[in-house]
């Protein structure tokens, strides 16, 4: 097991390097270099530009040097000094801006994942044990609808309905009085009261897929000879189901995390923009619109790394649950 975990963690290294290269390309994509833009912006506001500061920035980011030198300066800054670069819009180091938001994003993603498990398991179970009944058709249809509606549409409709019929806004993660308050039980309660709306919306797409997988998996198991044998022995139906088939059918819950997590993070980015949540999504959009590339790049980089770490954890959990994986 330990060997498996080590091997799996070693495999993460090239992935993270690849992510960092892609991120660096995105940072470099906008035409012109940011320093020129910055100087022009400052000059247009009538501020004098300190020549020493420009030279210092040029040195710090390796501007004017070959691209791989710039890449190395950037990536080594992140890993050796925790320096993510400077956000030019906020005029602060990126590292001061993103951790809170990454935390909220991660909390939202994990809640969404748990929520979709909570919903998908009973429904998938019901659909499989009641195959081709009206209930099964109903949930299958609901699942298709869930897959087809863009998440931001759901959020918009929800905003509209709550505004029109309940006269309140559902945006944000906190009520106004708690936004800047210190952490307390009341604040956590307030967070939970707001959290379920984005969680439910983001979960819709992934849940639909998970229901279909659970149903298919459980159906496969239910037709296996050992189930027939158990039934022939006179085992009660509920005991029969929970003893083996359900356990096997639970495996996809862990194994699908790898593709569900990126999907959740993606959905979260859009929903957060519509519902104005204090997560990475809105900050990323703002950063991209104002070409604040170090901020945008850091966000993309860390969101991706978080996803990869999530996948790693799910892979380890899967290896723990399913011995076939760690020995192959």
């Amino acid at each position: 097991m330990l060997q498996y975990i080590l091997r799996r963690m070693l495999m993460m290294i090239p992935t993270i390097i690849a992510i960092s290269i892609v991120t660096f390309i995105i940072i470099q994509l906008p035409p012109g270099d940011f320093l020129t833009t910055l100087v022009a912006g400052l000059a247009s506001q009538g501020e004098t530009v300190n020549q020493d500061a420009i030279v210092a920035l040029q040195e710090r980011y390796g501007l004017g040097q070959p691209i791989y030198v710039q890449y190395w300066k950037w990536i080594s800054g992140i890993f050796l000094r925790g320096d993510l670069g400077q956000s030019f819009e906020y005029n602060r180091p990126v590292s001061q801006l993103i951790w809170d938001r990454l935390g909220f994003s991660a909390a939202l993603a994990i809640s969404t994942l748990l929520f979709s498990w909570l919903i998908a398991f009973p429904i998938g179970f019901y659909s499989a044990t009641h195959q081709y009944t009206p209930g099964d058709y109903f949930f299958t249809f609901l699942g298709f609808i869930g897959l087809a509606i863009p998440e931001f549409m759901l959020a918009l409709v929800l905003l509209y309905v709550s505004f029109k019929y309940f006269g309140q806004s559902v945006g944000g993660l906190f009520s106004p009085e708690y936004v800047d308050a210190a952490w307390s039980f009341a604040r956590v309660g307030d967070l939970l009261a707001h959290l379920w709306i984005p969680v439910a919306i983001i979960a819709v797409g992934g849940t639909a897929g998970l229901i279909r997988i659970t149903r298919a998996n459980l159906l496969d198991e239910l037709n296996k000879p050992y189930v027939v044998t158990a039934r022939a022995k006179g085992l009660s139906e509920s005991r029969l189901l929970t003893k083996y088939p359900v356990r096997v059918a639970l495996i996809p819950f862990v194994s699908t995390v790898g593709w569900e997590l990126p999907q959740i993070i993606s959905g979260e980015a859009i929903i957060a923009i519509v519902l104005n949540l204090p997560t990475t999504g809105p900050l990323l959009l703002r950063a991209l619109q104002s070409e604040d590339m170090y901020l945008a790049g850091s966000l993309i980089f860390f969101v991706s790394v978080l996803t990869v770490i999530g996948t790693l954890i799910s892979d380890i959990a899967l290896a723990y649950l399913d011995p076939r994986i760690r020995y192959s």
Partner: protein, 423 residues
Amino acid sequence: MSRDITRNSSNPPDPDESTATLSPTPAGAAPVPGASGGATAIPDAAGASTAVRPVTPAADETNVYVASQWQLMWWKFRKHKLAMAGGVVALALYAIALFAEFLAPTDPGLVSARYTYAPPQRIHFIDRTDSGISLRPYVYDYRVAIDPQALRRTFVIDETKKIPVRFFAQGTPYKLFGLIPGDRHLIGPVESGRPMYLLGSDRVGQDVLSRLIYGTRISMSIGLIGVFISLILGITLGGISGYYGGRIDNAIQRGIEFLISIPRIPLFLGLAAALPQNWSPLRVYFFTILILSIIGWTGLARVVRGRFLSLREEDFVMAARLDGSSEIRVILRHMVPSFASHIIASLTLAIPGTILAETALSFLGLGLRSPINSWGVLLQEAQNIRAVATAPWLLLPGLAVVAAVLSMNFLGDGLRDAADPYR
């Protein structure tokens, strides 16, 4: 038993044989409408003669054994009611995209400052006047009202004034397919210039229905073109991966896993934000498609690779190779036809993803931009709650997205089931 029969009808693989006989799976193994239980042995001559007759599934079960692979698929597909319905809706959407100029009541870019945020009108087909009932369609005119709360000018339907409308009305001139000039629209006001907003108007008084119809063209074509580019990438890389195996396969698979493991929307956003603001709309359109397909090809590549891996071991591929066919010929002539149906099904299932991704990008303002109309661009109008509260009909393009995605999913599901000979 059915295996024996197909062996009879399929000769040893010959490079120029039809796709049906090249199929690795015995065609007769597929369940087919009308074919009941035990199949009876048929003499070869009879089988050959039935092949030329137009085939109906229930008419003659012997047809099953000589039907082409595509025919079997069609029979099976026809049984899938939801998939058929999805197919009809998808075709209708593409027809709307094709004839947008004619179907749209007016030019989508036509700005009318006099009617901003006008609510949707309902068409009345039967006109009840004092002199009796006549079949003249009409809509009600608008009148201006002041919203007492917001103190803002709004439009309400004025039921005292009628605007007669008609089919094939004369309106703004256009060129269908960029070639055929015309000025007739499917429906429009009899007097050109009177207000007719069947789905309401937007912030600057553009007709939402016309924009929606033109948007269908962009959104549906993005799905199609995007998937086409993904197909080229997917077939090439998936094919290389599956055909050569070994180290190349490993490298490509790691690449695919990498692309799948990072969240798409942030990546899309990052790439799309790099498109310069001063590019022409057409250029932005193509680059947006390109961005979507750079990341979207992975699923297809996996399907193709899996098929290649399993087909590589088939006897007919070996036979073709022993016949001295070149690698390219083996791939294109023998292997591709036998999984083309699967590819088509996967393609159909990939279209909705592309449409959704484009909608999301444009909605956030980083994909397509006005004056191009796509469903996402339209939904951008509904981005803030104020606009939605004032004009909830701006959310209607979302229904078009749902309809397109749902129909494509059903269609793709049906095609996939139909393409699988073991179901």
